[in-house]
Structures are given as C-alpha cells and as structure tokens.
Symmetry: C2
Subunit: 79 residues, 2 copies
Amino acid sequence: MARVVVDVMPKPEILDPQGQAVAGALPRLGFDGVTEVRQGKHFELEVDDSVDDDTLAKIAEGFLANPVIEDWTIRRVEQ
Amino acid sequence: MARVVVDVMPKPEILDPQGQAVAGALPRLGFDGVTEVRQGKHFELEVDDSVDDDTLAKIAEGFLANPVIEDWTIRRVEQ
C-alpha cells in the first residue's frame, strides 16, 4: 500500500473567487500581510503497490482535475 | 514574501461523499487498486515576511478550516 497526494489548483490565468474572497476578508478581520490566496483541491489516495505512476497520471488528469482550467501535482508520500 | 500551503482534510471519522464517489467510480472506469480516496482543500497563500507562524495558525483555524470537522496542516514552501 502507498499513499498518494494529488493537489489540484486553478491555472494562474483562471479567476479564483473563493481564494479572492478569503484574501479580501482577512484585512477586515485584522490580519494584514496576506497578499494572495488561491484555493484548490487536495486528494489523498490509498493505492496498492501494483498501481504505477502512469496509472496515477491518468487518474489525476481524467477524474481529479479538469485539464482545461486546472494544474495538478502528484506525489507519493511516506507512511 | 513567502509562500504558505495549508491543506485541509475532513477528520477521519467524518464521512467524505466526494472522495467516496471518486473511489467508487474508478473500478467502473477500469482503474483497480485504489482502495480509498479522500478529498479536502488546498490553499496557497502569499504572505509578507512579517506574518509569523502564530498568525498563520489563527488564519488557518479561523478562516480556512472548520475545526469541528476538519484537520489541517500548515507549511512554508521554498519559492
């Protein structure tokens, strides 16, 4: 078994209203110094050792991210 | 300036219907070997050097995560 983390973020040129809402609220709430917030998705997968990196790439591109508007990273983490 | 990543995940005892939907769909789509999927949120913040770890902890706990149902991690990343 292995743990795999896939982080999915909106591409830089894509507006991110959720992140902008957080970034805009923080100064009003008394927290200065945060100049940008972007919000994406974080997936944690438990996979059998038989699942190779090519398969993980297909899963991430096909079902976890939308390649038109999102970038993603895949990494295996120690358990 | 520093980049800070905050990952927010549902606590282990909290149901995660989004993750379960992905995990349930993968075998039907021809991808075996993924035994669990959990979905959370991934935030990337750009912060001034004046923002210390205590402030980041308050921001994460108060505005990025719901402490009742979510766990979170905070880490500074190299740019």
